[in-house]
Every structure is written in structure tokens, then in C-alpha cells.
């Protein structure tokens, strides 16, 4: 393979001048060695920077050595190059107390190169680590989830994809992805490598059905029927066999096992970055068997005095579950949008309380609700035969002190 990018490390060892030679320039015997990479490690744990660390064994002579490092056609940030001496290799006689120091670094004009002046107290091979930030080597993550037939659990496989457009090939490189364990893979020029980081079986999932007019809109605006998206919710904690680390963002492809033992593709979504204990919500598609009709049942104004009033709004949800299984429906309202929809426009934040006509059994979900949004859960029975029971819920909000 042709190598477009080549960087090299040269150690030029200068031999002592013979006594009596006045101008040693032309009489000098010069030898250049080419220390190979002994080990390379690519660190992808930073959000956007890629750090490459290579280990080489450089033969040094006692005295000052010139070690030249060059990186043609690659985008190394020279300011980030760190040269660290690990120590003498093997059994260098008397080198136990030896010292190797970098005296200075010189940058020649117009070249992607530098020259270290390295002083060594002993002659012998010295192991050094050179690290630098490299452009063109990037990473991304993706997931493959296979749900069981009953959709109670799934097998989650996490992959890292490393793309090498850095103009350099890396043979047998240790890659630290920032997630999972290190792995060792060669990665060639312009190559993309996908590696499984972790596979977790039996990850419990929650399947949710949600209505939220502001977020998901209507399925049928004339009949006021809301769109009911179905989500798989993965919780990134130990109880759900995850929680070891944050889940990075990436595409999630979801499959489901069918009765014949094969799998069917059921949808894909972009998984958001999910810290530990947070939920990754994956939208799979619209549920057509849960029908929710939403209307504004009531809006009343109670004048306090002058232009100061309280407003009562009652939202009515008529829900039918045509599935043969009971489901829980999440019903969400954005407070300011509901106030505007009921005709009370204001740029002031809404002061609201939940009114006594509300029929939901419990309070708004504490984790999912705030001053700006409320979310209630409604349990829906399964279809009986070919009849679905209609469940009606009311949400009564009083907007106080509006003007």
C-alpha cells in the first residue's frame, strides 16, 4: 500500500571530534537511525480531539543527540507534541542512575518537522513516548438493539466506529474509546473500523405511548385526534443492567424477534447522550391502536377586579385502547401553549394550580413535570373482544392572576 502520510523519527548521533581537527564540519561521520514504532495507542476519550501516543526506542549516545521528528501530509498540531522519556532499555551498563534530558526543540522553516536536542548521560537505547493531537481520526457510536418478542427486554450492542482520514496507517494499535475496555486493532489508511464495545443482554425496557399536542401534534386535526408516538425507554442504571457510564449519542437500530425465530427491523432513532440514571427515549413509530381525542371542554373567566382575572380551562381526553393488552398512556401539556390555545395570551409566566375537576388518579409525574409542562399517566384496559372501552379524563387548570 502506498503511504501518503509518513512520519519518521530520526536520531542523529554525533561522534566526538578527533583532536587536532579544527573545523570538524566536513570531517564528521554521521549516522542516522530510524527507530520504529514499538507501540501505538489512540485515545478517543476527548469529546473532539484525538490523542496519539507512540512508543519508540531511540538509540542515544552519551552526550547531546539530535532527534528529528517529521510528519509530512498529516495534520499534527506541533504545539501539542509531548516527548516523555521512559528510561533506558534493557541492561545498559551503569545506566541505572542515568539521565536523559530534552534541552531544546528547534523548528525548521517550512517543514512539518522538529528537532529535539536530547542529552543522555549514557550510550544506549532509550524508550520514549511521543504524544500529539492528530486531525482526521474521528469516532462515532452506534447501537443495535434486538427486542424480545414480548418487548419486555432487549439485547443492546454498542459499537464504536473509528474513521481514519489522518493520512497514516496504524498497525495493531491500542484504541481507548473513552468507553469500555481498550482494544487492539490495526486501522489502515482511509479505513473505517467498527468494533463492538459491549453487548448487554436482557436490558429491561419500558414501552411508552405519549400524547403531547405541542410536541407531536395531531394525527387528525379535524377530529382533534392526537398523534400517539410509541417509544422504547432505556434507563441507564444498574437496575436496568446499564449505568456503568454515560451512553454516547448515536444511531440506534431496533429489531424485534418474531415468532419464527428471526428478527424484523422495527425502526431507528438518534439516541441522545444519556448520563447515568437518565432515560434514553427512542421513537419507533406512531401507534394506531391507541386513539386519543382531545378537546377543550370549558374555559371560564372569573374577574377579580379591573383587568385582573382567573381563568379556568378543562381539557377533555377521550381515549380508546384497541390493543389486546392494557397500556399506560402518558398525557402531557405544555402550560404556556395550553393557556394560549384557550385564548389567554400573555408573555408573563403562567401562575397555575391543578383544579378539582381533574380526574387523573395521581399527581403529575415529578420527574417529567415542571412549571412549564405537566405529564400524567393514564391506565387503559385491554380491548374486550372487539369492543374497546372509552376512558375519559379531564385536566382542569386554573390560571390565576392573569392580566
Amino acid at each position: 500500500m502506498k503511504r501518503f502520510g509518513l512520519w519518521s523519527l530520526l536520531a542523529a548521533m554525533s561522534l566526538p571530534m578527533l583532536p587536532g581537527v579544527q573545523s570538524g564540519l566536513d570531517a564528521r561521520v554521521k549516522l542516522i537511525t530510524l527507530p520504529v514504532r514499538e507501540r501505538v495507542e489512540i485515545q478517543l476519550d476527548h469529546a473532539f480531539a484525538t490523542l496519539v501516543e507512540e512508543e519508540r526506542v531511540v538509540p542515544l549516545v552519551a552526550g547531546t543527540n539530535q532527534v528529528e521528528f517529521s510528519w509530512a501530509n498529516t495534520s499534527i498540531d506541533p504545539g501539542t507534541i509531548v516527548f516523555r522519556v521512559i528510561g533506558f532499555e534493557g541492561d545498559v551498563k551503569g545506566a541505572s542512575g542515568g539521565e536523559v534530558n530534552v534541552l531544546s526543540v528547534s523548528y525548521p522553516p517550512g517543514e512539518s518537522a522538529l528537532v529535539w536536542d536530547v542529552h543522555s548521560t549514557h550510550s544506549g537505547p532509550v524508550r520514549v513516548r511521543i504524544s500529539y493531537l492528530l486531525g482526521g481520526l474521528s469516532k462515532s457510536y452506534n447501537y443495535r438493539a434486538v427486542a424480545e418478542h414480548d418487548e419486555s427486554t432487549l439485547t443492546l450492542s454498542r459499537y464504536i466506529r473509528v474513521q481514519n482520514f489522518a493520512n497514516e496507517q496504524y498497525d495493531d494499535t491500542q484504541i481507548q474509546a473513552g468507553l469500555g475496555d481498550k482494544f487492539s486493532k490495526p486501522i489502515g489508511l482511509n479505513e473505517t473500523k467498527e468494533v463492538l464495545i459491549e453487548k448487554t443482554e436482557g436490558v429491561p425496557i419500558t414501552k411508552t405511548y405519549t400524547v403531547d399536542l405541542s410536541q407531536f401534534g395531531y394525527l387528525d386535526p379535524v377530529q382533534k385526534k392526537l398523534r400517539v408516538p410509541m417509544h422504547y425507554v432505556l434507563t441507564n442504571d444498574a437496575k436496568h443492567k446499564l449505568g456503568g457510564e454515560a451512553l454516547p449519542d448515536g444511531k440506534v437500530r431496533i429489531f424485534q424477534k418474531d415468532s419464527s425465530g428471526t428478527t424484523a427491523f422495527t425502526g431507528e432513532d438518534w439516541g441522545q447522550f444519556t448520563p447515568i440514571d437518565d432515560k434514553m427515549k427512542l421513537y419507533l413509530g406512531t401507534a394506531q391502536d391507541v386513539v386519543v381525542k382531545r378537546t377543550i371542554e370549558r374555559r371560564d373567566r372569573t374577574k377579580v377586579g379591573g383587568n385582573l382575572s382567573h381563568f379556568d380551562v378543562v381539557v377533555k381526553y377521550e381515549i380508546e385502547n384497541f390493543k389486546d393488552k392494557p397500556v399506560t398512556l402518558d398525557i402531557a401539556e405544555q402550560i404556556n401553549n395550553l393557556r394560549a390555545e384557550a385564548g389567554f395570551n400573555s408573555d408573563r409566566p403562567a401562575e397555575w394550580v391543578i383544579g378539582d375537576q381533574t380526574t387523573f388518579k395521581s399527581k403529575p409525574d415529578a420527574e417529567e413535570s415542571s412549571q412549564d409542562r405537566v405529564l400524567f399517566h393514564a391506565d387503559l384496559p385491554a380491548r374486550k373482544g372487539d369492543k374497546a372501552e372509552k376512558v375519559v379524563h379531564l385536566l382542569h387548570l386554573t390560571f390565576r392572576n392573569q392580566f
Binding site: S14, Q66, L103, V105, P108, G110, D277, L308, S369
Partner: protein, 479 residues
């Protein structure tokens, strides 16, 4: 190696020397050179010495600086030996020969004398940068400071004593402009600064490397003795600080050379998470806080402006990149604050829990209305709300997944005439900003609740936030 800067003793008897076409001259070489490089301006003071042999009587001296960036108005000649017997009679800048001048020196003796020539040049710059490598647990770091000298002056300075000046000086004219003004009539064929042909560059580079190898060889006799990087001596001078690099350095034209200015092995690091929207944007950032003092293995000199690059040494010895950040001049004793950006393992959310209004005031005028065809009177007030208090209850939620306890400092701006009600020992950072601190254990989720009361409309009498210790109002939908 070819030099552009030449001092010539012209062996002519009569003046004017520059009218002659056939001349004989000697070229006294440069003995020592000292560069004093300023980082705030493109300015370097060059001080060089040469030994010149004078004859008794008038000696014409020619000084030329083709293809360099020397300010002709700054060139000065001084006699270090026998100054009482040597006098500069006049200085001539010939109209037909740019980048050249003549001195007529009257000597009362025949013999050698050491002279010093000083001048300003542009094109030599220096900058500082720093590399910090923290321990795996980020409790302390090794911090190395570097200085990099870059020579684009057009002249090679060999074995120069290098002094670097930290500080901001005042110049009324740029040296480069002064230098170029004198070059306007230079023939194009000579090529300007930086316009060297490639083969010339290669030659210079080869020679430069050889020069450096020679320097290295000079030390070869003591090869087995440990040799540290050169020490950089720091001293204060008026409003400036001077770093003098031990020994001498060769920086060929168009080369850069980076040398270590200090190496602090154990600098204690304090990690603090900060929310300051004005400074760091609307995000919680992780900070490394260091101090430039003796207790921190630093404090030897101020730290000049420069880029700090931070790495962490992992348990396995490998490095992880953390961040790169420019820092401004840091005086001795001052703090070094390094922003590492958002930590994905700390989740920071501000949640609005409740809004309510009270203390509502209005002006009421009353209109009376009567129905025309039926008896009955309706009284309708037409008041408008003019002033009210708006209460907002917030939860500042912090989730710590780092595995270590974390300290946070949070600053929140509160506009208008406001009261900040809390139980977190908040203080006022300025008239409109509240500051409070908190700690969160590993794995803990902490909600810091507080209430902000803003007096609106005609209720607003002030424009400042006050702090009140108390419980925030209850949140009925939650409790």
C-alpha cells in the same frame, strides 16, 4: 555561512568613499551578540561587539544590513575600549545605497579597539507556552513552562545571548515600518525578507543543524555528567520582567527554538465546578485552580501570556488530552484558572417549579352603566394592574456521577428589584448576582431549592437583589 549584516573598514584615504568605484576593505567579524526580545511588540534590541583596527586619523566605517529588518534610525556605535581617543565625526546614509551607513571615526592612535553596535530589528519574536500533566487523580500536576524564539529577521544570530522581556512597552512607530521604509528602493532582484529561494533555505538549514551539532560536541567532553536543560534566569526591571537564557543560543533565520523556562513537579490542583453564565456561557464548567506561588512549586516569576495545554496521566501511564487554553499574564502570587469545559459526568439543570403572583396593585376608575330598556344598574370598574410581586421557585439540580465528591460555585443573575430566598448561605457577588456554593457526593442528586421574588411594575422601587434566609414557597403539584 553568509551574513547579511556587515561592518566594513574602508581602506581609502580620502572622502567621500562612496564616490569611488574601486575600493579595498576589511571585514571585522562579530565577536559577541546579545538579543533582547520583547513579546508585546515586534521589537528586538541587538547589541553586538566587534574588534576594529583603527589608524591614526579619520577612519571610514561602513555598516550595511541588506535584506534584514533593522530600523536605520536606531543604529548606534559606541567604543568600549579607549573611548576618549575615538570620536564619531559624522554618520552618512547614502541616497543611492539603501540599508547602509558610513561613520567617520577620528582616532588618536593606531591599533585595535572593541566597538559596540546596537540597533533595533523586527522579525524576532518570542512567546511562552505551558504543558501541564496531572496525576491520574487530578490532585496535582507537573507544569512546564517554555519559551519559543522565532527568527524571521533575515539575519542568522549565532551563539547569541538571549534575553526575553515580559511586559508592555510603548512604541510610537513600528520597527518593521521603519525598517521597510529604508528598503523601498531596494532592487527587486535582491529579494525581500522571507523571500529566500528553496535551495538557499535548505543550505541554511543544513548549516544550522551542523552548527547545533558543533555546539553539542563542545559539551561532549562532559557527556557522562547529567545535563539539564538550560536555566533561565528571571529578574524584575521596572514594569517588566527579563528572562535571560543561560549560555548562548543559535537561532538561524526562519527557525524557531523552544526552550524550557521552568519545570514545576508538584503543583497542587484544586478542582472546582463553576456556573458563571457571563464568563463561561450557560453551562457548568470544570476548573483547575492553581496559584503562582512558592507553596505551589511556582512563583519564581510572573507567567507571560501563552497557551496552556493540559493532559492527564492515566494509571497505565498513557496521556489523555484535557484542554488547551490561552492565559493572560499571571503575576507572582496570582491564581491560574484553567477551564476544562463541561464534564459529562456532572448533570446540571435549573428547573422552574412554580410561579405565582401576589401583592397586586392597580388604579381603579369606576364607570356606571344602565340598561336602556330595562331597569337595572351595573357598576364596572376599569382598573388596570400596575404593580405586583412575581414569585418563582427553582430547583438547581446537580447529579454527580464522577466517583469523587465535587465542589460547586454557582452565580445567578437576578434582574430588577428582587429578593433571593434560600437556605444555602448565598452571598451577593454584585448588585444583581447571587453566589452560592454546594458540595455533592459521588452518585448523589442534589436539589438546591430557592425562590426569587421580583417586584414588578409600580412595585419596583430598586434595581438590585437582596438575600433573605428562609424556605422557598411550597410547590403544590409536587408536594
Amino acid at each position: 555561512m553568509k551574513r547579511f549584516l556587515v561592518l566594513i573598514l574602508v581602506l581609502s584615504v580620502t572622502l567621500p568613499v562612496f564616490a569611488r568605484n574601486i575600493d579595498l576593505s576589511t571585514v571585522p567579524s562579530r565577536d559577541t551578540v546579545q538579543l533582547t526580545i520583547y513579546n508585546a511588540e515586534d521589537l528586538t534590541l541587538v547589541r553586538e561587539t566587534r574588534v576594529v583596527t583603527f589608524k591614526k586619523g579619520v577612519n571610514p566605517l561602513q555598516f550595511s544590513w541588506a535584506n534584514t529588518l533593522i530600523d536605520p534610525t536606531s543604529v548606534e556605535l559606541r567604543f568600549l575600549a579607549r573611548p576618549d581617543e575615538l570620536t564619531v565625526l559624522d554618520t552618512t546614509y547614502p541616497h543611492d545605497k539603501p540599508q547602509m551607513l558610513y561613520w567617520n571615526v577620528a582616532s588618536e592612535f593606531s591599533g585595535e579597539a572593541k566597538v559596540e553596535i546596537t540597533y533595533f530589528t523586527s522579525g524576532i519574536t518570542w512567546s511562552a507556552d505551558y504543558t501541564g500533566i496531572t496525576d491520574p487523580d487530578e490532585q496535582s500536576m507537573r507544569l512546564e513552562g517554555f519559551v519559543t524564539v522565532t527568527n524571521n529577521s533575515g539575519e542568522d544570530y549565532e551563539n547569541a545571548q538571549v534575553r526575553l522581556v515580559v511586559g508592555t512597552i510603548n512604541l510610537v512607530e513600528k520597527i518593521e515600518q521603519l525598517a521597510r521604509r529604508g528598503m523601498l528602493q531596494a532592487p527587486a532582484a535582491q529579494g525581500g525578507y522571507g523571500g529566500l529561494a528553496d535551495d538557499r533555505k535548505r543550505l541554511m538549514r543544513r548549516e544550522a543543524v551542523r552548527g547545533m551539532v558543533m555546539e553539542a560536541d563542545a559539551m561532549f567532553a562532559d557527556a557522562a555528567a547529567p545535563m539539564a536543560a538550560k536555566e533561565i534566569i528571571k529578574e524584575g526591571l521596572s514594569e517588566y520582567f527579563i528572562f535571560t537564557i543561560e549560555g548562548s543560543e543559535t537561532v538561524p533565520n526562519q527557525w524557531s527554538k523552544r526552550m524550557r523556562s521552568f519545570d514545576a513537579g508538584e503543583v497542587p490542583v484544586k478542582v472546582q465546578y463553576r456556573y458563571r453564565a457571563d464568563e463561561y456561557g450557560d453551562q457548568l464548567v470544570r476548573m483547575f485552580l492553581l496559584t503562582n506561588d512558592k507553596g505551589s512549586d511556582l512563583g519564581e516569576s510572573p507567567l507571560p501570556d501563552g497557551i496552556v495545554r493540559l493532559f492527564r496521566r492515566n494509571e497505565s501511564g498513557t496521556l489523555s488530552y484535557l484542554t488547551a487554553q490561552s492565559v493572560k499574564y499571571i503575576p507572582i502570587g496570582d491564581k491560574i484558572e484553567l477551564n476544562l469545559g463541561v464534564d459529562p459526568n456532572v448533570v446540571f439543570e435549573l428547573i422552574d417549579l412554580r410561579v405565582f403572583r401576589d401583592n397586586i396593585w392597580g388604579t381603579f376608575g369606576t364607570n356606571v352603566r344602565r340598561q336602556f330598556d330595562e331597569p337595572g344598574v351595573r357598576i364596572e370598574d376599569r382598573g388596570r394592574v400596575e404593580g405586583w410581586d412575581e414569585h418563582t421557585v427553582f430547583a438547581q439540580r446537580i447529579r454527580n456521577y464522577t466517583g469523587k465528591p465535587i465542589d460547586l460555585e454557582i452565580r445567578r443573575a437576578v434582574d430588577g428589584d428582587a429578593t433571593f430566598i434560600n437556605r444555602v448561605d448565598a452571598t451577593r457577588h454584585d448588585y444583581r448576582t447571587v453566589q452560592f456554593t454546594t458540595s455533592v457526593k459521588p452518585g448523589e442528586t442534589r436539589d438546591v431549592k430557592y425562590e426569587v421574588v421580583q417586584r414588578m411594575g409600580s412595585n419596583q422601587k430598586q434595581n438590585r437583589v437582596e438575600i433573605e434566609v428562609g424556605d422557598p414557597a411550597p410547590v403544590p403539584w409536587l408536594e
